[in-house]
Symmetry: C4
């Protein structure tokens, strides 16, 4: 019966090509749809109207980097998979559900920043919970694939290592920022921006690049 644990697993392994294609599609569409919610509104001179819409630009950039970072992490996870099983496909679907939902709270944040603090509080909270949900679902994907031995044993992918090191910290940071957002919504937005940048920038690779170069010179 010990075998029953392995054989069906292997039999169930499917090619990962279409899962990647479908995920790329959803991620690419979600990231590009964000632009539809950019809008300028009267009254004012052209320049006034344009610059008064700054909260929607900020929300746009934060969400773009957040989804972009999720894509990089997803790419570096699936790049290491031998294949996927039917449960992985479903967990991946829930991950995509959280990602595809993000344009909605992004719009809420953009609109709220032009209104009042009550609105900001609500919008920023929904925004934070959605991002936290994407991070949690991604952590579930990583943990499931490790637990089911779906991953190839290949050493030192800098992106994956980076993602693993950052994973625990960021979950806590996002949870804390949600609390901060209840009191100081604008500050929370700054934090979400900082976290998105932190997740996207490959500090270690950049450091090694700079460091290695200087030494070699």
């Amino acid at each position: 019966m010990a075998n029953a644990d392995e054989t069906p697993q292997t039999a169930a392994l499917m090619g990962k090509g279409r899962m990647e294609a479908f995920s790329d599609g959803v991620l690419a569409i979600a990231i590009t749809l964000l632009v539809l919610d950019l809008a300028i509104r009267p009254p004012g001179s052209p320049t006034d109207e344009f610059f008064r819409a700054w909260p929607s630009y900020v929300a746009y950039v934060v969400s773009f980097l957040t989804i972009g970072g999720a894509w990089i992490a997803h790419h570096s996870l699936t790049d290491r998979l031998e294949g996927v099983d039917s449960i992985f496909l479903r967990l991946n679907l829930l991950f995509l559900l959280a990602i595809a939902f993000l344009p909605f709270p992004t719009r809420l944040v953009a609109e709220a920043l032009e209104r009042n603090t009550d609105w900001e509080r609500l919008a920023v909270t929904v925004y934070g919970i959605t991002i936290l949900a994407t991070r949690l679902m991604f952590a579930v994907l990583v943990s499931y694939s490790r637990h089911q031995h779906l991953r190839q044993e290949r050493a030192d992918d800098p992106d994956l290592e980076e993602a693993r090191r950052k994973s625990g910290v960021t979950l806590v940071a996002y949870a804390l920022t949600i609390v901060v957002g209840l009191l100081l919504p604008i500050v929370a937005i700054v934090f979400y921006f900082a976290l998105a940048v932190f997740l996207v920038v490959p500090f270690k690779t950049v450091a090694r690049e700079l460091f290695g170069r200087r030494r070699a010179a």
Copy 2:
């Protein structure tokens, strides 16, 4: 003349790559476009407005899971194909027509739940008929590919087996729910949610996982 039945068939077999890419594209876009119809409307406090929009969240999740389930089923069907012929491409187009139409009745349902029972009745009926159409077209795809021997003989794909077992039951269930929706629209929505979950959750695999594990332990 018996050969005429086979030779042209084989000659007509095309690579399935682009059919999969195009289908993935349409499914990924339809599932991601759903977010554009989420909106909150005055009047009320921020929290009021946000929670009053619950029907659109419910409709969003049901449609997301329905299209997600359709993608999983489609993936597991085409994964087993040797290739496609020109009739399969057209039937697939009709399947995609039903899928791509789904965001429209989803919006109708979200709007109707904020209005009155007459609206709910209409919206839920159109919604149910669209889902039934996607299921019927998928059944046609499966039956055509079996009939034309487009499928590889490979054993035990859990997703495909699961889909086959569930197929007849769900067609009947969707048809019955359409009738239920004429009387009790809200109840029908709950049923559509339950059916989407039923189609997406791979019960047998989950059971085997849990069962096998407990035994092995």
Copy 3:
């Protein structure tokens, strides 16, 4: 110098993978975006409102089949290519320009059918010219790839043969329907529907299927 005609050609041949992926993307998005223009408008009972929107459903189906038919034709053309050169990429871009524009006249037609004959005349004419432009650009792609010997010599692709046989006829038919639309816009819509069906249905394959079967039986 005769060589100069061939060598650079071959050197310039690129993989067709990304051209196909990009084209699939644009075609899949254009076909799925059509749903965003479906809408029902007050006043009336739910059923009234829903059925009064019939012109937008008709326009939706005609455009869906037209783009779907264009995808099938494009698929069957590129399936036969050895590779693409830099001019093919540009011509393909113009083909995609016409396709990606189609949702706009589709919306015009849907709106016009709810207004008056002057609007119908304008909308149907713009619609027809756009479809004719997609067909012309596709004919240019086919002719360029034949002229530059980009195509593999492989016999009997039923879709390609079908497309070739239908190509000249449909260009004339679309041109004539544009003229018809100036006088009888509604009739032109019926014609566009008939032409889309005519282009999508693989009559010869269906006939052979039915004929071969009956003989074999």
Copy 4:
């Protein structure tokens, strides 16, 4: 320690497939979303309304060609890559950020041309800066991939050569056109159109084609 410069580089090289798929997705969606901003507005006869919307058609075509040209350049760059490293992925994300943003200034331009010169000035400036940003980010991608030796040594890709020859000139041309737009917005639009055409048309290939042909004849 000199090795440290090379070994980690090679270890970090990843397949470029998903980066291409994701980029194709974003580019294809951005180019197709442009159609959503085409709209005609009362008052007037049908023909009046339709032709009064000419600025949105012009903006549509300029942006379509600009994104299309960016896709061709990106395609011809990545076609030559051995693989990508984690920094390339991030730089590519910034390139896509600029591309995905373009539909917003396109809409601004379309709306501004129907208003007054102050609006045109603002819209055309934002539009120009966005295009310049896409060109700059692309130049960064090219330079990074050359510097990190990510590229295969393969001779004479006409598209790449064309792009390289045009790159410096166009950066200057776009910067100058931004200045022109502050004074004469309409003239700047004409320049952006001319530049998009200039970037898309493969003059050298066309010339060789015509020239070689005439000689051979």
